[in-house]
Symmetry: C2
Subunit: 330 residues, 2 copies
């Protein structure tokens, strides 16, 4: 059956609050640099009080990827829960404005829209503290069967392994996609997510996942590998395709027992790495949905990641389809 | 009496919603490119619906200037009205986080925090539509006598000439500053503001203003001048100091019947001109408060303006004091 969407994704619907910070600030607040820490609402207020002047922008890992997919001109659908509040309106506006389909009913009478407090150090590295709020109220009923069955690729973010209801929604979506003969892609999201759920993640990957996306720290944590060289063996037979991002070193794609090395694309400058992995996933998945060779999928990923690191915020500011056309990639 | 603040400012407290747009979008929406148009709440909702994926950031002309003043390491105080809502919290957080003093009580039970919908075209020009909301509920009682009397310079934005209560607050602040022997600076804000209130603005300038800030379009509109060359005559005898900004051409400073030409500082790239005039005002006023020669005041203004146009958003992202020190300006 012809697909209605190239990619459908499920994730935590989050608004980002992004501010510059220095390493001393991270130390004083006890924050693990580069990681994502879950925080409760009182802690979110205290931390926000102490943060510098910020910029607010729609975020959420899979939502950022879906924004990138839409920006590349592909057909994108998103499922995630916001509250019926001003930040929820901002989230819904932005993902629709970039061209994605988004219909999940907002939560009423519960916690507020999720926020991710992101402190960006001068090296461009982002350290995230997330108050999950309404996003964890996503439940299986929010996963509409037709939407999943009609997408070439179902994309799931590893962050959804934390909240139990969301994990149930995740399992339901995977079953629908599997039943419809679609591909299932998973992002590991964060090394601490891998540590918290390693056995469950491996079981889910073995049972359901065709395409695995991770950065090298997450991939090594998942497979207990000491070096990148041993990951190829670990991946073989587990998933058909794995893409492992390596920041400025580019990425590697593992498939059919082979390793393809992809260069990073040059960014105008390095301002904020927030969303780089999400945008790599966008380019890579659009390439796969369009049946492009793996090296071109990786190049599309690199192009999308390079666009997003030269400004504050996790989503593309320039239409990725135009950039990809300029570079002959689509 | 020694001053507690270098600059105290009164303005419309606004949160900016910034999105890219093309010229066709402006034409379809009937928007005058580069201008600020006042809109009501229903129109704000419709326009927001049609805008692209946006970024939210604290704004407001005089508030941006105060953020720049604080970023330059000078002592800054701000007076402006937000509502007790999430956007109001963002505004209050950001202006305090950058180091300014801000104590105006938020409005309860009235309209929401003001929003400025800003469409940025590929040439970096910004076209603004403002829903004034709670900001126009600023009233004379919000102007605390001690704060104004203790600031070297009182800075007023021309936008406050639109709402009657705010204009009354404006007049009260000017009277306090005058009584305390302080300097009064005025920004013309917008050519349409000048057209709407030309006679009142001229009367206010003659009676109260020591320092006038304007771009060349606003200055020519105010004085009915056909060219920049005739503005010097028009200004002489009216205000002691006038600074007229000219975008990429830099600025001119008019004082004591002379004209000083100031070059624009080079920006890394031109992304979004929102806040360029506000930041020029910040540098210029800090220079004046610190009794620097006028050419150095202008150079500080150019430096601050160059920082803000290379990214989306109207406030500095890098500490201006560091940039000014690198360039030997402070």
């Amino acid at each position: 059956m012809a697909a209605l969407y190239d990619v459908a994704a499920i994730g935590n619907a989050i608004v980002d609050v992004i501010a510059p910070a220095d390493d001393d600030f991270l130390a004083r607040e006890g924050l693990a640099k580069g990681a994502m820490t879950l925080i409760d609402e009182p802690r979110a207020h205290v931390l926000y009080e102490r943060m510098a002047q910020a910029v607010e922008t729609s975020g959420g890992s899979a939502a950022n990827t879906i924004a990138g997919v839409a920006s590349l001109g592909a057909r994108a659908h998103y499922i995630g829960k916001v509250a019926e509040d001003p930040l929820g309106e901002i989230f819904a506006h932005d993902i629709r404005a970039i061209g994605a389909n988004y219909e999940t009913a907002p939560l009423t009478g519960g916690p507020a829209t999720a926020r991710c407090l992101i402190n960006v150090t001068p090296d461009g590295e982002r350290t995230m503290c997330t108050y999950l709020g309404a996003s964890v109220r996503l439940e299986p009923a929010d996963v509409i069967e037709d939407d999943i069955a009609n997408a070439e690729i179902l994309y799931l973010e590893g962050y959804l392994f934390d909240p139990p209801k969301a994990r149930a929604a995740f399992a339901r979506a995977a079953a629908i996609a599997r039943g419809a003969g679609r591909k299932i892609a998973l992002s590991l999201s964060d090394a601490f997510v891998v540590e918290r759920h390693r056995a469950d993640l491996l079981a889910f990957i073995d049972a359901e996942v065709d395409i695995l996306l991770a950065n090298e720290v997450e991939a090594m944590a998942l497979f207990g590998a000491r070096s990148l060289g041993t990951i190829l063996d670990a991946v073989s037979g587990r998933v058909a395709i794995a893409a492992v991002t390596r920041s400025a070193e580019g990425s590697i794609i593992l498939a059919d027992g082979e390793m393809i090395v992809i260069d990073a694309a040059r960014a105008l400058r390095l301002v904020d790495t927030t969303g780089a992995g999400d945008q790599y996933a966008a380019g890579f998945l659009v390439g796969l949905a369009h049946r492009r060779p793996l090296a071109e999928c990786g190049a599309l990923g690199s192009l999308a990641a390079a666009e997003v690191i030269d400004h504050f915020g996790p989503r593309p500011q320039r239409p990725l389809a135009e950039l990809a056309m300029e570079q002959g990639l689509i």
